[in-house]
Assembly symmetry: C2
Homo-oligomer: 74 residues x 2
């Protein structure tokens, strides 16, 4: 991760927290100074490490919202 | 990926499709025969390759839905 620069511009929400303090978060992040994207991934306490995750455009996030509104999650 | 077995039990929805045909999908997937989890990631056409992604429990997905319902995505 040494050469990846990022800036968390906004924490939209926290989905969960593990017993060891890792949190799964939806953030708005600028990677390497580029335009910010929405980002869903796990983070160690104090953001010391990051897990794998996905980045999402605004359109993808809005589509995800539509999907979650129309599908029953069981 | 050779030794990861997975079974897509349900495609909940497709968030987007790239010009090269990769799709960002929310699926319900059983990894290595374990209990199914929700999974958000990119897939190549015909599921030949997968990108990085996140798995989500039902509770995390419901929390994500709450977040998307209460936050304005701009």
């Amino acid at each position: 991760m040494a050469d990846i620069k990022y800036e968390i511009l906004e924490t939209i929400g926290v989905l969960s927290e593990s017993p060891k303090g890792w949190t799964k978060e939806l953030n708005l992040i600028s990677w390497n100074g580029r335009n910010p994207k929405y980002d869903l991934r796990d983070w160690a306490p104090d953001k010391e490490k990051m897990g794998k995750g996905v980045t999402l455009s605004k359109e993808e996030l809005q589509q995800l919202k539509e999907i979650l509104l129309t599908k029953e999650i069981s």
